[in-house]
Amino acid sequence: MHKILRRIVRAGIVTEPARSPDPALRMLSQRLDARILEHLGRALAVRHVDAGSCNGCELEIHALGNPYYNLEGLGIKFVASPRHADLLLVTGPVSRNMEQALRQTYQAMPEPKLVVAVGDCGCTGGIFGESYASRGRVSNVLPVDVAVPGCPPEPAAILQAILTAVTSDRRSSPASP
């Protein structure tokens, strides 16, 4: 046990400030706090679906949980069921074999719900495009609130996209449900 504690102390806290030096992100981060308090009770639940990715984007989504990005420290949490989710994070071009599972996952989410498409494939279909096996970009199948390009996008960019989604116009209108 003492060895574990010593390692923890030695590593220290490496978490970087939630507000990135990028001014755009800092603004979003502040607005996010207000929105999360207002609509989501300081907790955003995210459900991830790989709809056909090469698994590169999954590596970066995993990285969001490491001590540098410390996603849960921001009140953002990945959940096991779409029933618990506020936001759907979708990677890959949508393969035709995953189309039904993706739609069903979206349908299982309670309203209000948001969709973020991750990576070049999620944004445009990427290098795989549209074919007998691929429907291409996520917005060909689901309404997408925010799309973040990159192959794969870095964790900070994915985080920025999630933050952008929860402050999007659709959600910030007082008349929205």
Partner: protein, 491 residues
């Protein structure tokens, strides 16, 4: 690759040829089909050479290779789905779910690329297990965590697993058809996106295939730099897996520590090479990066720190009674079964099989680097953890050796345009296992046919065996200890 021999056989000679390879201690590397003319091809790995067997088909069927090499079964089902060549008695679709009908074969050349086909029947008959108290647990394709999609059908009594049947193919996105609409240089980028976690290995295997088809040899410096990138990919993935294995075994501390170390390594990759996962850094003809003395200093500094930290974490993992209790004897794949199933890569080495393409004689630059082979005989989750730890230290040693003695020279040579019909094979030991790429060039610098093979083809069926008799809650740990690719086999 000069180590490659190519031989044509007829249908009557197919099974005897495979049997003789098996008797010589060889195994099946990859199996794929092609159109115009109808043919199937088996790439076989023998002790000191690769053998490509070509079987021209008069009719769309061929003798069942899974009677010799069980790993062929799923590859044959994929061939039937894509090209309509029948082999074996399992009629169920593998890559074909409902996206196209059973009488359409998207990889045939007259089927246009880029258009949808009429959809078919998506139903699938899992093998039922019957008996008192037996019930089924269906899992997926969307899983609870952040992982790729696939379906697992468990038949259990109480908590104990009687049978696991996998159904994959969910992320089939038509990669092989896509290759055929690309130029040889564009295709390098696609090869690096077959399985993102193995991008260096796939990109290298593709480049090797193209270079051997074109008769071009990259400089020694380029090959050494490729090895540097490949070992860094291995270290990054092993660090990530060790973190998740600790976490799945109840030691969240391990995930926090290893994911921090992995992030450090990815950031240095981005700083020195311009990409966290090193995508597109290996290119046909060489590499698009270089190291200078300042970069070398940073890499060596990182290596010293990493070695110290991983040693300390290894001691904690090995001394942790809770973690060891979860891992020892869990998900055991016996050496004899692993050999029979044709398991490759890390999983094979953890089941006592001495397989590693890097120690194959004559494969540059590893013939000069002298990599050590890390293995363990226990075949359980603990063994797969041990092999990962040992391979991190070995890769750090190789990295040090590369940086100390890297030859001077160009980093990239022109590949030119090989003649139509040239054939080349690439064979690289990625972090998960051996990756094979077979490439046939078309006219005007286009791809005619490209088949890329991930080691997960051989290892997924082994997971069905490794989980037998274990309890359902241990499945995530066992699964993670193999950490197989979905995208790499769904293509």
């Amino acid at each position: 690759m000069s180590l490659l021999e190519r031989r044509c056989v007829d249908a009557a000679g197919w099974i005897p040829a495979l049997l003789s390879v098996k008797q010589d201690g060889g195994r099946l590397g990859a199996l794929w089909g092609s159109d115009e003319p109808f043919a199937v091809h088996a790439l076989l790995v023998l002790h000191e050479r690769l053998l490509c067997l070509d079987l021209a088909l008069d009719e769309p069927s061929f003798p069942d290779a899974s009677t010799v090499f069980p790993a062929a079964a799923r590859m044959q089902r994929a061939i039937r789905d894509l090209l309509g060549f029948r082999a074996g008695d399992d009629e169920r679709g593998w890559l074909r779910h409902g996206a196209w009908r059973g009488d359409a074969f998207p990889l045939r050349r007259q089927v246009p690329a880029g258009t949808a086909l009429p959809s078919g029947d998506a139903r699938y008959a899992f093998v039922p297990v019957e008996g008192e108290g037996v019930h089924e647990i269906p899992v997926g394709p969307v899983h609870a965590g952040i992982i790729e999609p696939g379906h697992f059908r468990f038949s259990v009594v109480g908590e104990r697993v009687l049978r696991l049947e996998q159904r994959l193919g969910y992320v089939h996105k038509g990669i092989e058809k896509r290759f055929e609409s690309m130029s040889l240089s564009e295709a390098a980028r696609l090869a690096g996106r077959i399985s993102g976690d193995s991008t260096v290995a796939f990109a290298w295997a593709y480049a090797m295939a193209l270079e051997s088809a074109a008769g071009v040899q990259p400089s020694r410096r380029a090959l050494w730099l490729r090895a540097l990138l490949l070992e860094r990919e291995r270290i990054a993935n092993h660090l990530g897996d060790l973190g998740y294995l600790g976490n799945d075994g109840g030691l969240a501390f391990g995930l926090a520590q290893f994911s921090r170390l992995k992030e450090d390594l990815l950031r240095l990759n981005a700083q020195l090479f311009g990409h966290r996962y090193l995508m597109d850094r290996v290119a046909p003809g060489g590499v698009t990066i270089d190291v200078d003395s300042a970069a070398s200093e940073l890499l060596l500094l990182e290596a010293r720190r990493l070695e110290e930290e991983v040693l300390a974490l290894r001691a904690i993992y090995y001394d942790h009674p809770g973690l060891q209790d979860r891992c020892i004897n869990c998900g055991r794949l016996e050496p004899r079964l692993a050999a029979e199933l044709g398991v490759v890569g890390l999983a094979a080495r953890a089941s006592g099989i001495a397989l590693d393409a890097r120690v194959f004689p004559g494969l540059a630059p590893y013939d000069e680097l002298g990599p050590g082979l890390c293995a363990n005989r226990n075949g359980d989750v603990a063994a797969r953890i041990v092999v990962r730890f040992e391979e991190i230290f070995e890769s750090l040693r190789l990295q040090k050796r590369i940086l100390a003695a890297i030859p001077e020279g160009e980093t990239k040579v022109p590949v030119g345009e090989p003649r139509a019909g040239a054939f080349g094979v690439g064979w690289i030991e990625g972090w998960r296992g051996e990756i094979l790429v077979a490439l046939e060039t078309g006219a005007a610098g286009r791809v005619h046919r490209c088949h890329a093979h991930d080691p997960s083809w051989q290892n997924w069926p082994a997971l069905e065996h490794a989980v037998l008799g274990n309890i359902v809650p241990d499945f995530p740990l066992i699964n993670k200890s193999f950490n197989l690719s979905y995208s790499g086999v769904d293509l």
